[in-house]
Amino acid sequence: MAVDPTKPRTVLVIHGVQTGDNADLNQHQLIKQLLESRLGNMPLKFTTDLFRYEELNDHAQSKYQKLVKLIVANPAGQALASKAIDLIGDVVTARLDTSTAATIRQGFKEKLLGIFDAGNPCYVVAHSLGSIYAFDVINDLMTETELFDRQSRRTWPVQGLITLGSPIGLSMFNKGRKKVHSLGEGDKMFRWVNYWDRTDPVVSGKIFGQNLTGYEIAEKYRSPSPKQGWVIRDRPVDTGKVWLLAHVAYWDNPMVGDGLFDMVTN
């Protein structure tokens, strides 16, 4: 199997912390609109797709949801507690490296390999907690002998990674993620661009969304060794919104769109 650079590009989106179920998710449509809005008059052939895993998370959390219904009598309280479990449970699932997390990683890996088998150049856009899964899976794929030959991008199931509002800088996600997998000798570079809003509380862990400067997130993974083979950029971006609104404001940001255009066309 090999990637054919003349085939249409695929942008695969992996979502983050979420309420609701898989049917509620449409981030790949948002990314499609964003990229189309930044093409100008360039006739770029591309598709977008979404890896959904919310129902796996919901299934893992179902026993807690039942418990809430027994404990909380008030319907409004039940609804609120249910949403909280849905959101917090997603984070716990990822952080504790549970079997559900392993299933999510395996599903995402299979999705990537399916696109690879079809020969389409694939670019990953990962939001929030999805960036943790994307990081793990891409680094895992780099350990496989047939994939990610540094000299040939045709062997790369992923051509580049864009993360949006990633919590990967938080200490709670450090375990097992101390460095990226080096690609070895060669001159091709794997690109990772991390967009973050300075007041996004999911990025900083600062609940009140304090404005951060000088904060290394993805760039802490940079190595001076030429064998690493990664180009890593933290890119603070003005989303125009504050606090939690900033965390969900990347999807239609033109500067993110221009960064995506730059990556997908090269």
């Binding site: 650079p5 930044r38 093409l39 100008g40 008059n41 360039m42 006739p43 770029l44 150049p121 991008r153 051509q159 001159d187 091709k188 570079m189 690109r191 809003d197 300075r198 007041t199 304090q210 404005n211 400067t213 940079r222 001076p224 180009v231 950029r233 890119r235 603070p236 971006v237 003005d238 989303t239 125009g240 919104k241 504050v242 609104l245 900033a246 404001a249 239609d252 940001n253 033109p254 500067m255 769109g257 221009d258 960064g259 255009f261 730059d262 066309t265 090269n266």
Partner: protein, 179 residues
């Protein structure tokens, strides 16, 4: 009467505390790309100011007509610079790609994007785009961006200001059309 006054006060406090001023800075210039073709280049960035906290800005984007590259000027300890991407940028006349850490251009003035204002802005570009088999080159489109040169480019930056409660997505100019 007291209720009306209290509600009015709360409303004013809410609007003041959550109000944002949005500025779009943009400029365009007739330039040449590294292949010597005449190409329009558009520069832009945004800034969001709140009553409390520092403004949020950037990055600065440079879009050259018919280019598949978007050149980013990021705020770094060296100022506002275009950080070359190994594998994608090179210095004209030199073999191979730039090394990590190479500065391919810079904004010649303030060290912070939020200090930049409307009016004259000078920036330099020292690198040119490299291609590989994954670089899309269709019709007139190629990675080639604004030409590297020693003399700075001088843009006349315009500002458009607007206001919102709770913020809104920044505007951006359209990428320059490829003729």
């Amino acid at each position: 009467m007291h209720t009306i006054a209290r509600n009015t006060a709360w409303s004013i406090a809410f609007v003041v505390l959550t109000g944002c001023t949005h500025s779009l800075y943009h400029a365009e210039l007739d330039t040449r790309n590294s292949e010597e073709f005449p190409r329009k280049t558009v520069l832009y960035w945004s800034k969001t100011d709140k009553l409390i906290g520092d403004p949020k800005t950037g990055p600065i984007l440079l879009m050259t007509a018919c280019s598949t590259r978007r050149v980013h000027f990021d705020e770094t300890e060296h100022g506002v610079v275009f950080r070359g991407t190994p594998g994608q940028d090179r210095i004209p006349g030199q073999p191979g790609t730039v090394a990590e850490g190479t500065i391919c251009g810079n904004v010649q003035s303030d060290r912070k994007i939020h200090d930049l204002q409307a009016g004259p802005l000078s920036l330099t570009v020292h690198c040119e785009a490299m291609t590989d088999e994954f670089s899309i080159q269709t019709g007139l489109f190629s990675p080639s961006y604004i030409q590297a040169r020693e003399e700075p480019y001088r843009f006349d930056v315009q500002e458009e200001r607007s206001w919102s409660v709770l913020g809104r997505t920044p505007d951006a100019p359209e990428p320059p059309a490829c003729p």
